[in-house]
Symmetry: C4
Subunit: 172 residues, 4 copies
Amino acid sequence: MGKNRLEAFSDGVLAIVLTIMVLEMKVPHGAGLVALRGILPVFLSYVLSFVYIGIYWNNHHHMLHTTTRVDGLVFWANLHLLFWLSLFPSVTGWMGENHFAAPPSAVYGVVLFFAALAYWLLQHAIIRSQGPDSPLAMASPVLAQFPYIAVAILWLVPDRRIERTLDAGPHS
Amino acid sequence: MGKNRLEAFSDGVLAIVLTIMVLEMKVPHGAGLVALRGILPVFLSYVLSFVYIGIYWNNHHHMLHTTTRVDGLVFWANLHLLFWLSLFPSVTGWMGENHFAAPPSAVYGVVLFFAALAYWLLQHAIIRSQGPDSPLAMASPVLAQFPYIAVAILWLVPDRRIERTLDAGPHS
Amino acid sequence: MGKNRLEAFSDGVLAIVLTIMVLEMKVPHGAGLVALRGILPVFLSYVLSFVYIGIYWNNHHHMLHTTTRVDGLVFWANLHLLFWLSLFPSVTGWMGENHFAAPPSAVYGVVLFFAALAYWLLQHAIIRSQGPDSPLAMASPVLAQFPYIAVAILWLVPDRRIERTLDAGPHS
Amino acid sequence: MGKNRLEAFSDGVLAIVLTIMVLEMKVPHGAGLVALRGILPVFLSYVLSFVYIGIYWNNHHHMLHTTTRVDGLVFWANLHLLFWLSLFPSVTGWMGENHFAAPPSAVYGVVLFFAALAYWLLQHAIIRSQGPDSPLAMASPVLAQFPYIAVAILWLVPDRRIERTLDAGPHS
C-alpha cells in the first residue's frame, strides 16, 4: 500500500474531526450576549481538543515521514488510531455541555488514553514493518516516552477536575 | 479520466462517511455515567460500521492499484458504490438507536448487500475496461469469492439478530 | 494559481456536499419498517441530487482537464459554482421532507438553474483565460448546448411536478 | 515539514468549513414559500461568510506559494488561523438566525478580527522562517495593509448594524 494514500486519508479524517467538533457547539437560540455564557465551557473544551488533534496530526506526520513501506498491520493500527480520534467531537461536546463535570471528564480521559495507546501501537507496527535499522526505531527510546508522559498528564488532569467538581458539589 | 482523481475523490467520500457516522452518536444530555448506557448500542454499531468502511477502503485501494485506465462505466460504477457506502451513517445510527431491533438490522443488511453488489459491479467494470490480461482479471476467480462470502455472512448475521430479538420480545 | 489546487479544492467541496446530503435524511425514530415510509421521498430526492452532483463532478473534471492556467476570474467563477452546488443538501432535504410539493420543488429548480448558469459562466471564464485556440473553445459549440438543454429539462420537470401536485391537492 | 501537506490539510479544513456552514441553514419545516422568508437572513449571512472564506483561501494560497520551508512556528500559526476560520459556521448561523441583531453581529466581528490577526501572525511566522530575502518579506509592506484595512472595514460594518438595530428596536 502506498504511504501517500495512507497519509492523505489520515489527513482527511483529521481535518474533518477538527472541523465537525465545532458543529457540536450549538448555535445559541437567544440574540443576547447572555446566550454566549452557556457555550463558554463548550468553547474551552473545543479549544482543548483542537490543540490535542493538532499535536496528534503533527506527531503523526513526523512518524510517517520516516516510513517507506505500509503493510496490513500498519493500515489497521492507523485506522485504530483514527477511530479513537474520531470520538473527540462527541466526548468534547459532552464534557463542555456539562461544564467539565466529573463523569464526562473521565470519559474524555478514557478516549485520550486509548488514542495515546493506539498511537503507541501504530509506532510499534511501523517499527516492525521497517526493521530495526529504521530511523523511527533509533529515535524510539526518546519518542516512546511521549505517550507515557502524555497519558500520565492526562490522568492527572481529570483527577484534579474530579476533585474540584466534588468540592464544588454537583452541577445542574 | 485520471485514476488519481477517482482515487482521491473516493478517499474523500470514505473519510467523510467514516467521520460523520460519529455525528449520529448524539451527545448524551445528562452528566452521569448512566447517560452512557443509552449510547452503548450506538457505539457498538458505530464500531461495526467503522470496520466495514475500513475493509471497503482497503479493498477498493487494492482493486484500483491494478487499474491504469478509467472510463465512463468505471466512473459511474464507482459512484454507485459510494452511494451505498454513504448510507452507512444513517442506517448505522438507526440500528444502534433501536438497540439492534429486527427491522433496522434488516435494513442495515440490505444496504450492506447493495454495497457488496456495487463493489462486484465495479470490479467487472474495471476488468472490462482493462481487458482480459489485466492483473485484476487474473486475480478475479479468487477475489470474486469475497463479495459472495461477505454477503452470505451478512445475511447470516441479521438472521441471528432477528431470531434473538424475536426471542427477547419487542424493544421499546 | 495552480490548477491542481483548484481541482483538489473543488473535489473536496463536492465530496463533502455529496456526503452531507445524507445527514439531511434524518434517522427515523421508530424501530418498525413503517418508519421507513416517511423517508422514502427523502431517499428519492437524495438519489436525484446524488446523480446531479455526479454529473457536475464528471463535467467539471473534463472541463478543467483542458485548462492550463487559472486566473482570478476563473477562481471566483469556480467558487460561484461551488456556492450553488453547496445549497443542494438543504434544498434536497426540504423537497424530500415535503414529498415533492410545489414550492420546494420550484426552489430546487431555481438552485439547479443557477448552478447551470454558474457552470456556463465558469466555462466562458476558462475560455477567456486560455485564448481562442484552447481545446475548450473549439469544443464549446457542442459543450455549450449542455447547460441550455439541462436547464430546459429542469424547467420541464418541476412544471410536471407542480401540475401533478396541483391535481393531487395540497400535501400537509 | 512538507509545505504540500500543510497546504492540503488547510485546503481540507477550508473546504469543510465552507460546506458545513450550509448545515446551519436549517431546512424549513413548512412546504410553502413563506417558510423561505425565515431563512433569508440566514442565507445572506451564509453568502457573506462564503465570500470571506473564499478571500482567505485565495490569500492563503498566494502566501504559501512564496514559501519553501515550514517550521513548527508556521505549523502552529497556521493551525491558529484555521481555528478562527472553523468558528465561522457557528457565528454565521447565530447571526443569521437572529436577523443580524447587535450581539451576534458583534461576536461575528470579533471572530473576523481574530481571524485577521491570526493571518497577520502567520504571515510574520512565514517571513521569519524564510529570511528577509523571501518574496513575501519584500511584498509585505503592501500585503501588510490588507489585514488592517480588512479589520477597519469589519469594525465599521458591525457598528452600522448595531446602530440600525438600535433604531429598529429589539428583534423577536
